[in-house]
C-alpha cells in the first residue's frame, strides 16, 4: 500500500523498526508498507535535529574539518525541534492514504493545527506535534560562534605564517 507524504522535508518514516525507502511518483513522495490487506500498520514519523545527538561537538568538529573550516559542509537546519509521531491504520490497497506535514512549533499553545494530518484515508495519529528542542537550538548557536571564531583564528594564523615566510626570504 502506498502512503503519500506531502511536504515531508527531513522527516523519516519507520515501520516495525525499519526505515522505509522514500520513493517519488509524479512529484509526490510515498512509502510502501509490505503488509497484506486488513493487517494493522503503525508508521512512525521521526525527525530530530542533527545536533541533538550525543557527542554532537565531535560530529560538528569532524565535518567542520572535513568541510574545510565548515565552508563546504551543508548548513545545519535552523529548525531545531523534534517530531516523534505514530500513525495507526489498517492496510487497504483500495484507499490511498495521504499525510501532510507542517513545519512549525506551536510555542503559544493557542493554535490547534497539528504538524501531521491525514488528507485522505483513515488513520489515527499520536503526538502529531513538534516537541521543543532548545538544546539543539543552543548547540547550533554555539557551533556558529565557535565555527566563525575558528575560521578567524586559523586564517589569521595562516596569514601570519605566510607573511613570516615572505619576510624571511
Amino acid at each position: 500500500m502506498k502512503v503519500y507524504l506531502i511536504n515531508r522535508a527531513d522527516i523519516q518514516v519507520f515501520c516495525d523498526g525499519k526505515r522505509l525507502r522514500i520513493n517519488r511518483e509524479g512529484g509526490k513522495e510515498y512509502v510502501e508498507t509490505d503488509k497484506t490487506d486488513g493487517q494493522p500498520v503503525t508508521l512512525r514519523f521521526l525527525r530530530k535535529h542533527e545536533l541533538s545527538r550525543p557527542f554532537w561537538w565531535l560530529y560538528a568538529l569532524l565535518f567542520w574539518v572535513l568541510g574545510v573550516m565548515g565552508f563546504f559542509t551543508p548548513r545545519y537546519s535552523k529548525f531545531p525541534h523534534s517530531l516523534d509521531c505514530l500513525a495507526h491504520f489498517t492496510e487497504n490497497k483500495q484507499v490511498p492514504l495521504q499525510f501532510r506535514f507542517a513545519h512549525y512549533l506551536d510555542e503559544t499553545g493557542q493554535r490547534t493545527v497539528p504538524s501531521v494530518t491525514e488528507l485522505t484515508g483513515n488513520a489515527q495519529t499520536e503526538n502529531p506535534r513538534y516537541i521543543p528542542n532548545n538544546a539543539a537550538k543552543r548547540r547550533r548557536k554555539i557551533y556558529l560562534f565557535c565555527s566563525w571564531l575558528g575560521r578567524i583564528l586559523l586564517l589569521t594564523a595562516i596569514a601570519a605564517v605566510t607573511i613570516k615566510i615572505i619576510v624571511e626570504r
Binding site: K48, V68, T73
Partner: protein, 152 residues
C-alpha cells in the same frame, strides 16, 4: 530507530560535503585554463593599447615618439609576468592534476554509493556529482592537450 536516523543524517552530510568538495576540485582543476584565458585577455588588451598608441603616433607624425614616457607605454612587462606565472602554475599542475582526477572519481563513487544506500530520491545530488566529475575530466583533458601541444 534514532541510531539509524543519526547514521543516515551523517551519511547525508558526508554526501553533501563531498559534493561541495567535488565542485571545489573541479574549480581547482580549471585554474590553468582560467589563467591561460586571463593571459589571452591581457594579450588582447595589450594589442588594443598598442593599436591606440600607433594611432597617436600617426596623428602626431611620429613626433610623440620623442617622449620617453610615451615610448614606455609600449612595454609589456605585466604580460611577461603573467606568462611566467601561467607557466609556473602549469608546471605545478603536472603533479596536481592526477590528484584532482583521483579525488573527483572518489567523491563521485562515494556519492553514488551513499545515495544508493540511503534509498532517498536524490536525483539532483547525483546529477550535480556527475557534472562536477565531468568538469574535472574536461579540465584535465584541456590541460593535457595543451601540455602535449606545448611539448610538441
Amino acid at each position: 530507530m534514532e541510531k539509524e536516523l543519526y547514521r543516515m543524517q551523517a551519511e547525508n552530510r558526508l554526501c553533501g560535503t563531498l559534493l561541495r568538495l567535488g565542485w571545489l576540485v573541479a574549480l581547482g582543476a580549471f585554474v590553468p585554463v582560467l589563467l591561460h584565458g586571463l593571459f589571452f585577455g591581457a594579450a588582447l588588451g595589450y594589442a588594443m593599447r598598442v593599436l591606440i598608441l600607433v594611432l597617436f603616433v600617426l596623428i602626431t607624425f611620429g613626433a610623440i615618439l620623442l617622449y620617453e614616457s610615451f615610448r614606455d607605454l609600449f612595454r609589456a612587462d605585466g604580460l611577461e609576468q603573467l606568462q611566467a606565472l601561467a607557466d609556473k602554475v602549469t608546471a605545478a599542475y603536472q603533479a596536481l592534476m592526477p590528484v584532482f582526477l583521483v579525488l573527483s572519481v572518489c567523491f563521485l563513487a562515494l556519492n553514488i554509493f551513499f545515495v544508493h544506500k540511503n534509498g532517498a530520491p536524490k536525483t539532483g545530488r547525483l546529477v550535480s556529482a556527475v557534472l562536477s566529475a565531468l568538469c574535472t575530466a574536461i579540465a584535465a583533458l584541456l590541460y593535457y592537450t595543451a601540455v602535449q601541444g606545448g611539448a610538441a
